[in-house]
C-alpha cells in the first residue's frame, strides 16, 4: 500500500500494462490518476512476476504512457452493501449517480462472490404468480429460479419483464419483503428510462436498486455490473431476508464486452471469437440464484438477452440455456400478428416447474394440462405445415380442428393485455376451455381420471359456442 507507480509501459484498448510492480495480487483493484485529476479504476487480470496487465473500467481515453499514476488498493473488487441501497441508482461499478450522496456501508463484499454449496441450497418449490397465462400455465416461474428471456431486437422483452415485475410483486405473500435489483449492461437510455418509469408507476421504486451501465458507458465496466448487482442481491436476500428479483439486461452486451477484452488481450478465441471461458463466466453469474437453507430470502433471476439475428444456437443463448433452469423465448412471428406477449410456447421451458406446481401449489391437473397443451400445440405446427402444402380445404376434419385450436390458443391463451393479471385458476380453466375444441380421444397426455373431471362430455364443443 502507498506506493504509487508513475507511467505505463503499454496501452491497448481497455488494457494497460504496468511493469516493476511489487506485491500486487491477482484480481486486485488499482486506482489510476490521469493528468492529476481524472480518476479511474482497474483490475489486474494477469500477473507475470513484476508485470501486471490491468483492465481499466472507465476506458483508457486520455491515458498516456507518462501521465498516469497507479496505486494498488490491496483488495479485490468490492462493493459496499446496505439495505439503504434500495431506492437508489448507481453506475455499473456501484458508485451512486443519483446525486443523493454515498451509501453508508454495512459491509464491503467481494463482487466475485463464492460458489453456493449444493448441500446448503434449498430446492426451489414456491411458484411466483406472474398473472401471465403463457408463463404461469406452461413455464411457471419458481422462487429461486434463473429463467432468462430469449428475445430479439425490437421485441417487447422489456415490456414483458416490466409486467412480470409489476404483477409478481403483488403476489399473495404480501407480508414478505420483496425487492428488485436491476442491472443494465449496455442498454439504451430509453430502455433504462422505461424501466425507471415503470417502477415508479407501479409504486415499487423505493424497493428497487438500479445499476446502470448505458450503451455509451465504458465497455469494461459492463463486465462488473452484473456481479455488483448480484452481490447486493445476495446481501439483501440472505442477510436481510428479502425476496429479490434480479433483472439483468442485456446479457448479450456483457458477452460482447468479454469478447472485446479477450481479443485485446490476444487470447485464443473459441466459438465465434468468444473466449473459451465464456461458459464459466456466464455460470458464475447465473448460478448466483437460489435459496439458502436457514434463510428466509431468495434470489430469482430474470436475465434478458437479445439473440443476435434471432439465432437460438448462437453461443450466448446456447450456453445460457445450458446453465439456466429453462428459458422464455419470444417469437417475431407472433409479434408480427400483434399477439402480446409473443411467447413462443414450444421452445420455452421451465425446469423447476414440475416440482412447484400441482396439488398443494397450484392445482392437481396443472402438469397434465400443460403437457397436453404443449403436445396439442406441437400438432398445430404439423397441421399448419401440411396446410401450406395442400391447402387448408384439403385437411382432414381433425387437422382442421387443430388449426382452429391453434388460432384460439394463440389469441386467447398466449395473448393477453399488458396490464391483464390472470389468476392461476383463470389460466388453468382457460386451458381446459381450449382443449374442448379437440375431441376427447386426442387428449392422450391426461390420465382418464382427470379427464372425467375436467372433460366429462364426450362431444367436443364447437368454436361457435365461444363466440
Amino acid at each position: 500500500m502507498g506506493i504509487e507507480y508513475l507511467g505505463l509501459s503499454n496501452i491497448n484498448g481497455p488494457l494497460v500494462v504496468l511493469e516493476g510492480v511489487q506485491e500486487a495480487f491477482f484480481d486486485e483493484i488499482v486506482e489510476f490518476v490521469v493528468d492529476g485529476n481524472i480518476k479511474k479504476m482497474g483490475r489486474i487480470v494477469e500477473l507475470d512476476n513484476e508485470r501486471a496487465v490491468i483492465q481499466v473500467f472507465e476506458g483508457t481515453e486520455n491515458m498516456s504512457l507518462q501521465n498516469t499514476h497507479t496505486k494498488l488498493t490491496g483488495h479485490p473488487m468490492e462493493v459496499p452493501v446496505s439495505a439503504d441501497m434500495l431506492g437508489r441508482t448507481f453506475n455499473g461499478v456501484g458508485v451512486p449517480i443519483d446525486g443523493l450522496g454515498s451509501v453508508m456501508a454495512e459491509e464491503r463484499r467481494n463482487v466475485n462472490g463464492l460458489p453456493l454449496n449444493p448441500v446448503k441450497r434449498e430446492y426451489p418449490r414456491n411458484y411466483i404468480r406472474t398473472g401471465i397465462s403463457a408463463i404461469d400455465g406452461l413455464t411457471t416461474l419458481i422462487r429461486g429460479q434463473k429463467l432468462p428471456i430469449f428475445s430479439g431486437n425490437g421485441l417487447p422483452h422489456d415490456q414483458l419483464a416490466a409486467q412480470i415485475v409489476k404483477q409478481a410483486s403483488l403476489g399473495d405473500d404480501s407480508e414478505e419483503e420483496f425487492a428488485i435489483v436491476f442491472g443494465a449492461m449496455g442498454v439504451k437510455h430509453d430502455v433504462a428510462e422505461f424501466f425507471r418509469k415503470t417502477f415508479e408507476e407501479s409504486g415499487v421504486s423505493d424497493h428497487v436498486c438500479m445499476f446502470l451501465n448505458l450503451a455509451n458507458d465504458p465497455v469494461v465496466e459492463r463486465l462488473i455490473t452484473p456481479k455488483v448487482a448480484l452481490t447486493v442481491a445476495e446481501y439483501l436476500a440472505f442477510e436481510c431476508n428479502m425476496h429479490i428479483l434480479v433483472i439483468l439486461t442485456d446479457m448479450t452486451s456483457f458477452a460482447e464486452a468479454m469478447r472485446e477484452v479477450s481479443s485485446s488481450r490476444g487470447e485464443i478465441p473459441s466459438r465465434k471469437g468468444y473466449p473459451g471461458y465464456l461458459y464459466s463466466e456466464l455460470a458464475t453469474i447465473y448460478e448466483r440464484a437460489g435459496i439458502v437453507e436457514d434463510s428466509l430470502g431468495s434470489v430469482t433471476q430474470l436475465p434478458i438477452l437479445t439473440m443476435p439475428n434471432d439465432d437460438i444456437t448462437h453461443p450466448i443463448p446456447d450456453l445460457t440455456g445450458y446453465i439456466t433452469e429453462g428459458q422464455i423465448v419470444l417469437d417475431r412471428n407472433l409479434h408480427g400478428q400483434t399477439i402480446y406477449p409473443p411467447i413462443s410456447i414450444l421452445p420455452s421451458l421451465s425446469r423447476l416447474m414440475k416440482d412447484g406446481i400441482g396439488a398443494g401449489y397450484t392445482r392437481d391437473d396443472h402438469q397434465s394440462l400443460a403437457n397436453q397443451l404443449f403436445s396439442a400445440y406441437a400438432k398445430v405446427g404439423e397441421a399448419r405445415n401440411l396446410a401450406s402444402v395442400i391447402g387448408e380445404d384439403e385437411l382432414s376434419p381433425l387437422d382442421k380442428k387443430y388449426l382452429q385450436f391453434g388460432v384460439e390458443f394463440e389469441k386467447r391463451y398466449v395473448g393477453q393485455g399488458p396490464t391483464e393479471n390472470r389468476t392461476i385458476e383463470q389460466t388453468l380453466d382457460l386451458g381446459w376451455e381450449l382443449l374442448h375444441l379437440l375431441p376427447r380421444e386426442e387428449l392422450d397426455r391426461i390420465d382418464t381420471k382427470l379427464l372425467d373431471i375436467y372433460y366429462p362430455s364426450e362431444e367436443p364443443l364447437d368454436a361457435a359456442s365461444f363466440e
Binding site: D27, P118, K120, G144, R271, A283, E325, S375, I390, T448
Partner: protein, 590 residues
C-alpha cells in the same frame, strides 16, 4: 524420502500459474499453492517454466508466494464412507465444508475426504498365515444398509498375514492387519487406500458384454439396451431431457452402486438429487437410494480445473467399488462441460487449438475415459463392472460438433435426444431413428433366456413399423393422410400406438416410471396382436374409420397407466378384448 520442495509463483493467469526455472516437480503431482494452500496439479514441465492448474479461485494470489510439492499425484481416498455422501470435484465432502464454512464454499478449505473419527463395524475375513495378493479382500464393513464394503489389499501389495485384529469397531485409519512382504519388511494395512485419479485401477481381465443394465425405461431396455460394463452417450440440446434421463437411470437401473457426477451443471439440480434420492426407495433392496449412491458435484460456478478433475474422481471411486465385485453405473452429466474445461485450460496455456477451439487431444482423452468402462474379472477373482453413461450437451443442439462426434466413436450406445419430440413433450425424447445400440447382438442370448425367445423378433418388428411410419410421413407431409390406402393408414395408427403407448414413458407416474422387462415384453405382445388383428380386418376390406370407432387403440395406449406393475396378468385380458373387438366389427359390418 523427498525433502520438501518449495518454489515461488512467477506468473498468474486465471486458474493457471507459472513457476520459473527447473523445479524438480513431477507431472500430475499435487501441489499446495500460496498462503491459503490451494490445491493444484502440475500439468506441464519445461526447463524454463512449470505450469500448474489450480483447483480453486486464484484471486488474491501474489507472485512470490510459495508453491509446495506434496510428492503424490492428485489422488482420492478410498475407504468406507463414500456412499451416501456428496463431494466436490477433488473429493472434498461438501457436507463437512458446509458445516465449517457456512453456505458458501470458501477457498483453501482443508478437510479430510472421509470421516476419520467414525467407527465402523468390521468383520475380518482372513487369518494369520494366509498369503494375500493385491486386491484380496481381508475385511467386510456394512457401509450402508444396502452395501457391504469389502476392504481390499492395495493392488501392488502382497504378503503373508502375520497379525490380525479381532472383529470390532475401527476407524478407517486403524491398522487391521500386518503383512510380511516378500522382501521381509512388515507393512501395516488399514481400510484406506489412495489412488491417483488419472490411472485406471488394475484388473485381471475383461469380459465381453453379455448382460444388460436393466433400467426400467422401455425405449432403453427394449429398443436400445446398454450392457453392464457398457458405454452410452446421451446427446441433446438444452431442455431435451438429458438430466431427466440420467436421473431415471440412476433411480431405477439394476446396478448395485451409482456414481453421479454433476460436472459443470446446475446447483439446484444437485440439491434435487440429494433430496429426492434421500427419500426415494430402491425397489431392489427397499433402502433409500442414497444408500447406494455417491454424488460428485462440481457445479458450473465452481473452479474450472476441478471440473476437469471431477470426471476422473468419479471414475476412480466407481472402479474401487467394481473391484469389490459390484456393478457400478456412472452418470456423467455432462461430458461437454468437461471438454469445455479442457478447452478453457488449453486456451490459457496458449496451445494450438484444433476443431472449434478444442485441443487436439480431446479425442484421446475421451477414448481413455470411456475405455475405463467394462465388465471385468477383478484381482480377487470377483466379477464387477463399470458402465458409463455420459450426457453430451452439443452446442446449438448440433450433433456434428467435435465432442458429440468424438464421443460417438468411443461409445457403443447412442441415445440421441430430439428437440421436436421434447417440444411436443414426448418424453423420454430419445429419437428412435437416430439412436442405436451395438449391444443388441451381444445381449440376444440373455433376452431369449431371461425374457422370451421372441423378444428380439418383437423388438425388430416394432422398429420396422416405426421406420415404415417415417417413410409414410414423408408422403403425408406432401399430400395429407387421407389419400393413403387403408393398410398404410393402419401402419400409421399402430405406429402412433407404439409412440404414445410404448415409447412415451411418464417419469412422474407411479407405475409408469419404471417397468419390468416382463411388462415391456407383454406390452409389445399386445400391440403386435392388435396390429395382426387389424390387418386381418383390413384385408377383409374394412376401412380404417370403422376400425377406429371402437376405442380399442386408446385402450391399448392407456395400458401403461391402467395395468399396475404388480398385476401383470391383466395384460392377458387385453388379447381377449382385442378378439372381442374383432368379432364385434365383423358382426356389425359384415
Amino acid at each position: 524420502m523427498d525433502s520438501r520442495r518449495i518454489e515461488a509463483i512467477y506468473g498468474i493467469n486465471g486458474p493457471v500459474i507459472y513457476l520459473k526455472g527447473k523445479t524438480g516437480f513431477k507431472m500430475s503431482e499435487m501441489v499446495h499453492v500460496g498462503k491459503e494452500k490451494l490445491v493444484g496439479e502440475v500439468i506441464s514441465l519445461d526447463k524454463d517454466v512449470t505450469t500448474i492448474q489450480v483447483y480453486e479461485e486464484t484471486s488474491g494470489l501474489k507472485p512470490g508466494e510459495e508453491v509446495e510439492a506434496t510428492g503424490d499425484a492428485v489422488s482420492v481416498t478410498l475407504a468406507p464412507g463414500i456412499l451416501n455422501n456428496i463431494f466436490d470435484g477433488i473429493e472434498r465432502p461438501l457436507e463437512k465444508i458446509g458445516e465449517s464454512g457456512g453456505a458458501f464454499i470458501t477457498r483453501g478449505v482443508s478437510v479430510d475426504s472421509l470421516d476419520t473419527a467414525k467407527l465402523w463395524d468390521t468383520h475380518m475375513t482372513v487369518a494369520e498365515g494366509e498369503f494375500l495378493h493385491g486386491g484380496s479382500i481381508f475385511a467386510e464393513v456394512p457401509e450402508t444398509r444396502a452395501i457391504v464394503h469389502k476392504c481390499m489389499i492395495p493392488p501392488q501389495v502382497e504378503g503373508t498375514v502375520v497379525e490380525v485384529k479381532p472383529d470390532g469397531q475401527y476407524t478407517i485409519n486403524d491398522t487391521l492387519l500386518v503383512l510380511e512382504l516378500p522382501d521381509g519388511t512388515k507393512k501395516e494395512i488399514t481400510m484406506t487406500q489412495h489412488w491417483p485419479i488419472r490411472v485406471p485401477r488394475p484388473v485381471h481381465k475383461r469380459y465381453p458384454a453379455s448382460i444388460p443394465l436393466v433400467t426400467g425405461q422401455r425405449i432403453l431396455d427394449t429398443m436400445f439396451p446398454i450392457a453392464k460394463g457398457g458405454t452410452a452417450a446421451i446427446p441433446g440440446g438444452f431442455g431435451t431431457g438429458k438430466t431427466m434421463t440420467q436421473h431415471q437411470i440412476a433411480k431405477w437401473s439394476d446396478a448395485d452402486i451409482i456414481v453421479y457426477i454433476g460436472c459443470g451443471e446446475r446447483g439446484n439440480e444437485m440439491t434435487q438429487v440429494l433430496e429426492e434420492f434421500g427419500e426415494l426407495v430402491d425397489p431392489k433392496s427397499g433402502n433409500p437410494l442414497m444408500d447406494r449412491t455417491t454424488l460428485i458435484a462440481n457445479t458450473s460456478n465452481m473452479p474450472v480445473a476441478a471440473r476437469e478433475a471431477s470426471i476422473y474422481t468419479g471414475l476412480t471411486l466407481a472402479e474401487y467399488y467394481r473391484d469389490m465385485g459390484y456393478d457400478v453405473a456412472i452418470m456423467a452429466d455432462s461430458t461437454s462441460r468437461w471438454a469445455e474445461a479442457l478447452r478453457e485450460l488449453s486456451g490459457r496455456l496458449e496451445e494450438m487449438p484444433a476443431e472449434e477451439g478444442f485441443p487436439a487431444y480431446l479425442a484421446s482423452r475421451l477414448s481413455a475415459f470411456y475405455e475405463r468402462a467394462g465388465m471385468m474379472q477383478t484381482l480377487n477373482g470377483e466379477t464387477g463392472s463399470v458402465s458409463i453413461i455420459g450426457a453430451v450437451s452439443p452446442q446449438g443442439g448440433d450433433f456434428s460438433e467435435p465432442v458429440t462426434q468424438n464421443t460417438k466413436r468411443f461409445v457403443r450406445c447412442f441415445w440421441g435426444l430430439d428437440k421436436s419430440l421434447a417440444y411436443a413433450r414426448h418424453f423420454p425424447a430419445i429419437h428412435w431413428l437416430t439412436s442405436y445400440s451395438e449391444y443388441l447382438n451381444d445381449l440376444s442370448g440373455w433376452y431369449s433366456d431371461n425374457v422370451s425367445p421372441k423378444f428380439l423378433d418383437y423388438r425388430n418388428r416394432i422398429m420396422s413399423i416405426l421406420s415404415q411410419e417415417n417413410s409414410l410421413m414423408e408422403i403425408v407431409k406432401l399430400i395429407g393422410a387421407d389419400v393413403l390406402p387403408d393398410d398404410q393408414k393402419l401402419t400409421l395408427e399402430i405406429a402412433k400406438v407404439i409412440r404414445l403407448g410404448f415409447l412415451q414413458q411418464n417419469a412422474f407416474h407411479k407405475d409408469d416410471t419404471c417397468v419390468s422387462m416382463e411388462k415391456q415384453f407383454k406390452m409389445m405382445d399386445v400391440i403386435l396382436y392388435l396390429f395382426k388383428t387389424c390387418r386381418k380386418l383390413i384385408a377383409m376390406g374394412m376401412p380404417m374409420s370403422i376400425l377406429k370407432s371402437e376405442g380399442i387403440f386408446e385402450k391399448v395406449i392407456a395400458i401403461k397407466y391402467d395395468v399396475p406393475n404388480d398385476n401383470l396378468q391383466m395384460l392377458d385380458m387385453y388379447k381377449l378384448d382385442i378378439d372381442a373387438y374383432y368379432n364385434k366389427i365383423i358382426e356389425k359390418n359384415a
